[in-house]
Symmetry: C3
């Protein structure tokens, strides 16, 4: 029988009893999803998903990177431009399902199998076809359409992540459709800030066209960004997001920044110029957040497309993004010196380098009024990862300098499963604190609501 | 009811039973405090503390940094040159007391509330005035004077931290007063070693005046330091303390060191010169410790005054010192090559970078005869922090290459609370080792006494 | 009574019950030892071991580094060229046995005391002579000869580590002796790859002599290495091993590599040249592994012989090798770009820097098909170290991208003890996963066999 009702709680005693009671509250709270990567077109068009492989496997790099690591070719899974029979893809997946033992992926998928499709066995080679047929059939029903899923997941708000060049036409369609779901965009300017981004100069020019600003000079470029931020805000956005290799920031003089932009725009920038420009732009974006109130998020530390051969054949997001050591204290100083004490500024920091939790991030967030810590992210969005986060962050930053949970996913079906894991781990952590007499039980009940919904609502201004 | 008697012990079973039995022993042992920052004037003058805000809030950067991180201004707390009504400061604190949930600060303060003032509720906006009045009244009683607190805390020895330029007049007054308390100074030469220290050159000149040495040259400077160390030792000091940004050490030739000092003294040093000088001075200080037997302590890794705006308005120690990654293996090699095998040398290492516990510090301390590891420090002086320390240090360095507990505090009232937390965590750790049959119970009883009092006495030569 | 039957299991409840059941299976499985440092001459000659001190203390740097850290001189232990009465050495050890409380060394030694010598008390000054006499007497019996120990330990295969210049005469003698034990060599080319290795140029010349290749040029040098790898393979080797300071790899053009080798061979290489050459050689070795199928192991991150004074007096391997921060993501990229997707390539990574488990190693191993993670190594081959490994690796890499256990020891008697600790910790980890409903119990039974024997057999191609 999939998914025991006490999963992820402490195995014994008072801590488990308290965790159960807290979860009875947490389970029924709505889902706030302030950071994620679902496709707004799903909700605009509300079409059925095509088949189990296309839904569960082909878009999910958590799954196919694990299969690839054990010798399964991406071609055989129908990834990229390759065609594969979806049932055969499903059978390969089922045959290798044992690889996911002990991983959060397994828990997320089992949750979807059971809660959405009523499947109660463990997936295996033997029952692969039964699973395939059950899921395939259900996908044709109205209950499995995107809007119905949004409602049945009890989502209160769902943020997508969008290019500054995006017309947000799907968001517009959603708003005009009369449907009550709240799907909001997030302003992610990498395409016009990261000088190594595909078609970077073309993107800058397009930014100028869209906004009517002259992006050949720095002032016009900044104004164009302001213009797009205002548009995103008008379309419901409450936040921006920035995915840099490092957390480096800079605070150049106006003339230095203009000269640097001229090199960047003219295509004459060195690698160091490009990195300095990104550093400068984080500080500029912080300044714009002080102006317009959009919450700023920073997701640094991932070396993208580490496997060059795979990248050439299959492109981005194929499970080969690998974290690197990340430094925050010196890197963020220019930005924090300029804007760290501003009362209207909220800056949410994430990391893939857990050694920074207790050493750098909790002390920073436990001091600067603008800072909040995002939840355990990506590889650390897992029971052990979340527990390490709470254990290493709380004693210095407290609970109230954290930002609630993000599911950060492009896998729609995994959203309730991911929030469920986060809630269970928080219940387990609080249950232990109560059992060890480190907080009182009434405080734990207040905290579980804050961690589950209130902090996310407040930090992201939702 | 504040503070359950089983707090911080394992929540269930044999581990808890053993922890309870060990704590029954540990609880009644005296407090050895070989490293801290209380003011010797308190014990020399034995005046009453002014009011609850001045005692608990205004001097404690653990408290006001957390309030500041959530938007409370330092002005409103009466920090720096700002005046604020102490009762209003207390009310702000009470209103935000929930921010400390899950932090050691909360546990320390609750301990003082209950043990010193008989307060048994949790502080809140509703009872803030009752707390204020109760504490304020008690502060006027003889039992709350510094010497009475020293006695009631059962302190065996309390070390302060002092500038090499300090006359130690308060220590002198204490010794001549006939009072039996043992308050000893610690030699902390940052003011004449750190070239960025306020009034550095003036300090060097004053060092020359005090000692009658010619500190315009390196030999005179070193002799002046020797002279002051001898004075501190005569006044009861058993240790020195060094607070550098990094753990870098150097072993320059005599002529190189003299030339470097000439640049430093002449105010012509580059930043790199200044860092090299500090590195060289750590090795010189180690050599002096070999001569005079003072135990050497190194506290590296804190980027001081990270928040420039706040520093300009409020000065040092305002909760904006942030740890940075710290390297020990290559950094300490020059010093350890020269003095690491000396039998009369004790060198206690601290860190704010927990990733070095298992990787660098435990292997170093598990080999070099001079090295001992100081306890979990500052942000890591917390239940989870201490537990990680034991878990990551013990298997390589054992228990006997550690140095017992330091409270490291300027908050007098928190001393027994901090030692109590440390003792409880050690009981919990040992209780688990016994319950998992990794040590025998009779060994745990020996160990708890060693960890609580014997190691500190021995390592610090008290 | 030494060694409780439930040692290292969770102290309570379901997790303990499951751990016990799993251990009942694991306990009786054979020992696979694919990486270690025992002396093949022992099995070739099958002589008795001389005395307790020579067996337990003098060759074991885990033991004498701890004694040295507490002021015991290596001279008094008869280390190096120093002579000491073995009984007196044993008494020193017994007197200091309390230092090992909480360390894995203590658990390994107690295991040998009890299982091989029937000793059931804890070693102390009082019973030191009884222990000495009991062990000394037993060492003269046939049951304590190397081959008998191999059999009684139920070793299935035992790999040694050997210089490429080694004649493998002992391995040859074992194979020709008719004895059924499987003792295989491992190809470890440090002596002809590390330009700072003692007599490096002489080693290169000898490599040429042995193989008949002209090692004065790069092509001849590479061919000579290919030749020796083939010889090792013919003598039973299935793996190579590489002990570099860093994980740096390079992929030079043929002409660059030839020019670099000319400098190295000619003794005109800078330090940077030497490091680049090692980086290049890792990639060359990977290429040879693709050709010949030998599994490649990388053990980076140890700063060797940190204590210069001790090294000058006593030589290598005296407990003064200290780990340093180690970077993998950028370092391994050249090698992985060239060979990371090869289906015939297995590359096992180790680390002494635990901060890389979740940040770098698990994401790399969870993607690249060639990569497997070696077990917790050296200072981390300990209960807490192994548990951190499982907790930080499993959620991203799963269990099946790990390589089973290595005892990595030159202490023959500790082999079964080390495997026993590893099995118990795995049972404890799996027991907790079952108790927390994160895997099913039937999966745990499959996993414990995989972790104990199947993964090692498969990854090391045994």
């Amino acid at each position: 029988m999939l998914l025991h009702e006490d999963r992820l709680f402490p195995a014994e005693g008072t801590a488990r009893e308290v965790a159960r009671k807290l979860y009875a509250v947490a389970r029924d709270l709505p889902i706030i999803s302030p950071h994620g990567h679902t496709d707004p077109a799903w909700f605009a068009q509300n079409d059925a998903f095509p088949n189990p492989a296309a839904l569960f496997i082909q878009p999910d790099h958590y799954i196919f990177r694990m299969l690839y690591s054990q010798g399964v070719s991406l071609e055989s899974l129908g990834i990229g431009s390759h065609r594969a029979d979806p049932r055969e893809v499903w059978q390969i997946f089922a045959r290798h399902y044992y690889l996911f033992r002990g991983t959060p992926t397994r828990m997320w998928i089992d949750y979807a199998f059971r809660s959405l499709f009523g499947l109660e066995e463990r997936l295996s080679e033997a029952n692969a076809d039964v699973f395939y047929d059950t899921i395939d059939k259900a996908l044709q029903t109205p209950a499995l359409r995107p809007r119905a899923l949004y409602d049945s997941f009890r989502l209160e708000v769902l943020a997508t992540t969008d290019s500054p060049l995006d017309t947000l036409e799907h968001h517009k369609a959603i708003r005009e459709s009369g449907w009550k779901g709240r799907v909001v965009p997030t302003f992610r300017p990498d395409a016009v800030v990261d000088f190594e981004f595909a078609n970077f100069r073309g993107n800058i020019d397009k930014l100028g066209e869209i906004t009517g600003e002259d992006t050949s000079n720095y002032t016009g470029y900044l104004n164009a960004l302001r213009n797009r931020r205002a548009f995103f805000k008008q379309m419901g956005a409450t936040a921006t997001d920035h995915g840099h290799l490092t957390a480096r920031t800079a605070d150049l003089s106006k003339s230095e920044a203009e000269a640097l932009y001229a090199k960047i725009y003219g295509g004459k920038a060195s690698h160091e110029d490009g990195e300095l420009f990104q550093a400068q732009m984080l500080t500029e974006m912080a300044g714009m957040s002080v102006e317009d109130g959009l919450v700023m998020q920073l997701h640094p530390g991932s070396v993208r497309n580490h496997n060059s051969g795979l990248y050439e054949k299959f492109g981005r997001d194929k499970g080969a993004d690998i974290p690197a050591p990340t430094e925050y204290v010196r890197s963020l100083r220019p930005l924090l010196t300029k804007y760290g004490n501003e009362s209207n500024f909220t800056f949410v920091l994430f990391t893939l380098d857990e050694s920074t939790y207790a050493r750098e991030l909790a002390p920073l967030a436990g001091h600067y009024p603008c800072l909040r810590l995002g939840p355990a992210w990506w590889f650390h969005d897992s029971p052990e990862g979340m527990m390490r986060y709470r254990e290493q962050v709380t004693e210095t930053a407290g609970f109230y300098n954290t930002a609630g949970f993000n599911d950060d996913t492009r896998a729609l079906l995994s959203i309730p499963a991911r929030h469920d894991v986060a809630r269970r781990v928080d219940c387990a952590f609080l249950g232990r604190l109560v059992a060890e007499h480190r907080i009182d039980e009434d405080e734990a009940f207040e905290l579980i609501e804050d961690l589950t919904v209130n902090l996310a609502r407040k930090v992201y201004r939702l």
